[in-house]
């Protein structure tokens, strides 16, 4: 167990690099691929190495499945089967990359937009959609899945990720926590407090900011005047990195590096993924009021799945049969979700009182009895 004095050690990297410079993100986002999936020009991937073919193939399958799931959830929302669904279509590289960078023993802290990441984490889709179907709980067991409940109040789960990872490290475990945040969330106080606590206590946390351009309708230019969101790390002593969020190779390379760096005792890392929310905020949103369709179309041309597919095909690592198999698996998954969500969700009103405390107070028992009486009439 380390002492607090050790926790206070500044993050000086080997080689005598001045800490502030070492903490700054690269001038341009890390990328391996150009917009069409060909090799990016120059050394845009910096010090990072191409992820293994095996990892890229797993990512491809998970991204295809994730997108199909996301489309299915959006369709079910339009049919009234879900109360609301915030889509992460177009952000598959971040959603899947974050999960594949983690071990099962690591912790994931998702937001309401990250249901796709829950699916990649292996959580049953009906469980994962419990909250968005209109229930009062997250639907899955956070302790068993090492996945926190999807967080709605922005960035408030970031300090929890710090606490969970700090607790694990104090017990000598090598657990890492990865917390998903959006560009809007970086304006919240808890984002800053979490970065600061993580740095001061040298906690193995990776902060992944998926900068998808909008906080509902407000563009990122109204969230910050910083050179990038990744630059917000240096003020806290946290290393920042910028990535092309629609480049699955770059996302996997940078996130794997960040997670393993944190695991090895390198302290927290802030990763900003430059991506785009191609769908409206939710089904209740009208995005024509705040953005131009041409902008959406331009981002759709930088599609992460298409780029990965082009890359793997050109490398001879993905065949027509592989593509068909991934598509078929995704269709089967979606069909299962459709079937299982065709039933009306049931909720037992008596259970409203059951989990407020470990043991209901006399007042809650009394109120539960009153409700039961009302229902029995």
């Amino acid at each position: 167990m380390t002492t607090q004095a050790e926790h206070r050690m500044p993050a000086v990297l080997p080689g005598g690099v001045p800490p502030a410079d070492a903490l700054l993100p690269s001038a341009e986002p890390v990328r391996f691929l150009d917009d069409d999936g060909g090799p990016a020009p120059g050394d845009a991937h910096g010090r990072y190495e191409r992820p293994s073919t095996e990892l890229l193939r797993r990512a491809y399958d998970a991204m295809v499945l994730g997108r199909r799931f996301d489309a299915q959830a959006t369709a079910l929302t339009k049919q009234g089967r879900l109360a609301v669904y915030p889509s992460s279509r177009g952000q598959e590289a971040g959603e899947i990359g974050a999960v594949l960078a983690l071990r099962e023993t690591d912790w994931l802290f998702p937001t309401y937009r990250d249901t796709m990441a829950l699916i990649a984490r292996g959580i049953d889709p009906v469980e994962a959609l419990t909250l968005l179907r209109g229930s009062w709980h997250c639907g899955y067991d956070p302790m068993a899945t090492r996945t926190a409940p999807q967080c709605t109040p922005l960035a408030t789960h970031a300090p929890h990720a710090v606490g969970v990872a700090y607790a694990a490290r104090r017990r000598g475990e090598d657990t890492v926590a990865l917390v998903l945040i959006g560009d809007g969330g970086t304006s919240e106080g808890d984002f800053h407090e979490a970065l600061n606590f993580a740095a001061v206590f040298h906690v193995p946390v990776v902060f992944l900011v998926q900068n998808n351009g909008f906080a509902i309708s407000v563009p990122v230019s109204r969230q910050t005047a910083a050179p990038s969101l990744a630059h917000k790390g240096v003020g806290y002593g946290v290393r920042g990195e910028r990535v092309d969020g629609n480049d699955p190779l770059a996302m996997l390379a940078v996130l794997t590096d960040a997670v393993e760096s944190a695991r090895a005792g390198g302290g927290p890392v802030l990763v900003e993924a430059h991506t785009y929310r191609v769908e409206p905020h939710t089904n209740a949103d009208d995005d024509g009021r705040y953005r131009d369709h041409d902008e959406v179309a331009a981002w759709k041309r930088r599609d992460p799945i298409a780029r990965l597919e082009a890359h793997l095909r050109s490398a001879g690592e993905l065949t027509d049969d592989d593509v068909a198999a991934a598509g078929a698996a995704a269709e089967a998954f979606a069909a299962d979700v459709r079937k299982r969500l065709s039933e009306e969700p049931v909720g037992d009103p008596a259970e409203l009182f059951a989990h407020v405390f470990a043991t209901p107070t006399p007042q809650l028992r009394e109120q539960a009895a009153w409700l039961a009486e009302e229902l029995a009439r």
């Binding site: 167990m1 380390t2 002492t3 607090q4 004095a5 009062w136 709980h137 997250c138 639907g139 067991d141 956070p142 302790m143 068993a144 926190a148 409940p149 109040p153 408030t156 789960h157 970031a158 300090p159 929890h160 990720a161 710090v162 606490g163 969970v164 990872a165 700090y166 607790a167 694990a168 104090r170 017990r171 926590a177 106080g189 808890d190 407090e193 979490a194 600061n196 606590f197 001061v200 059951a354 989990h355 407020v356 405390f357 470990a358 107070t361 006399p362 007042q363």
Partner: protein, 335 residues
């Protein structure tokens, strides 16, 4: 031995930390300094800075860190330096601390304690004397506890640390230096139990935290005049002891709630509502309140006008219609 409430709290923390190495104490100035009220005095020295440590000065981060550590095997106790300085943590408390068990359908409990030195009477400048208990008591999922005696300070804090649910532990600042003859460790009545401090037959005074000594003094003064007042110390606001309260008021037929916090929409208002719901047919007079005025807590030179005092309590008792005349104060419908 003679023990102050502050030292009893320190002893409770120390004993809990000795018994269970998952118990941690952190916050602002709680390390080598021992806290601005010295409640954590000596803990960093005995247990090391690993188990009693200072954090960055950010209350939301402190509570959020505690949530994560409680999710992962620890029992954090955090100190909010003063009542009003806990407000930055309110979102964490209301949206996560209070709701985590419910929003995970019982899978994730948060065994953590948020210590809040609260209320006035110490000549604090602005933002140092708030009675903030209503915010927490109004939030489902939080237990809210406030001791008025030295023995309760020790016992309730031990129980709070051992509780599987989050507890907001409200420490009346002006009672930190109150002394009593107590042999530690001591255990008193558990959560959810109010205690009759003084039995009586003519009227019930319901009080909690810093108002309890005032109620006791008022009862003594009334006894000298031949009036028998029963004093009930509520101790735990959540869970609330309806049984003890109702039994007392049904017996005496008259009731005054004494609280230091502003009355409007306060815990005292909830208590009045519960008493009239449960005791209406036993009441000989409306349930009255002696609470703080609905003003921002006054500066030191004026705080004596805000704090409930013995005279104000006795005036309220006088208005309990012993002569069957309506309370002149409320004859008019509106001010």
């Amino acid at each position: 031995m003679t023990v102050t409430m502050g030292k009893a709290l320190t002893a409770a923390l120390r004993d809990a930390m000795r018994e269970d190495d998952t118990v941690l104490m952190f916050g602002e100035d709680v390390g080598p300094l021992g806290g601005v009220f010295r409640v954590t005095d000596g803990l960093a020295a005995e247990f090391g800075e690993d188990r009693c440590f200072d954090t960055p000065l950010a209350e939301s981060g402190i509570v959020g860190l505690a949530v994560g550590m409680a999710m992962n095997g620890f029992r954090p106790v955090v100190e909010m330096q003063f009542d009003a300085f806990a407000y930055p943590a309110f979102e964490q408390i209301a949206s996560h601390v209070a709701k985590m068990r419910n929003r995970t359908r019982g899978a994730v409990g948060l065994p953590m304690v948020i210590r809040v030195p609260y209320a006035g009477g110490i000549g604090g400048v602005e933002h140092h004397s708030d009675s903030s208990e209503a915010y927490y008591a109004h939030t489902p999922g939080l237990k809210v506890v406030t001791p008025s005696t030295v023995a309760d300070a020790y016992s309730l804090l031990r129980e709070a640390i051992a509780d599987p649910d989050p507890v907001v532990f409200m420490e009346p600042k002006k009672l930190y230096w109150a002394k009593d003859e107590v042999s530690l460790p001591v255990r008193t009545e558990p959560f959810g139990r109010a205690v009759v401090r003084v039995p009586g037959s003519d009227a019930t005074l319901l009080a909690y935290g810093p108002a309890v000594p005032v109620a006791l003094e008022a009862a003594s003064a009334a006894a000298a005049e031949g009036l028998s007042l029963e004093v009930v110390d509520l101790r735990t606001l959540v869970p609330f002891d309806d049984a003890t309260v109702a039994a007392s008021v049904r017996k005496t037929g008259r009731c005054v709630v004494v609280a230091e916090a502003s009355g409007f929409a306060g815990v005292s208002a909830e208590i009045v509502a519960r008493v009239q719901e449960r005791c209406f047919h036993s009441l000989a007079a409306p349930v009255l309140r002696v609470a703080g005025w609905d003003v921002p807590f006054p500066p030191p030179v004026l705080e004596k006008y805000q704090l409930p005092g013995v005279d104000r309590v006795l005036d309220a008792v006088d208005r309990l219609q012993f002569d069957d005349a309506p309370d002149p104060r409320f004859l008019a419908v509106s001010p």
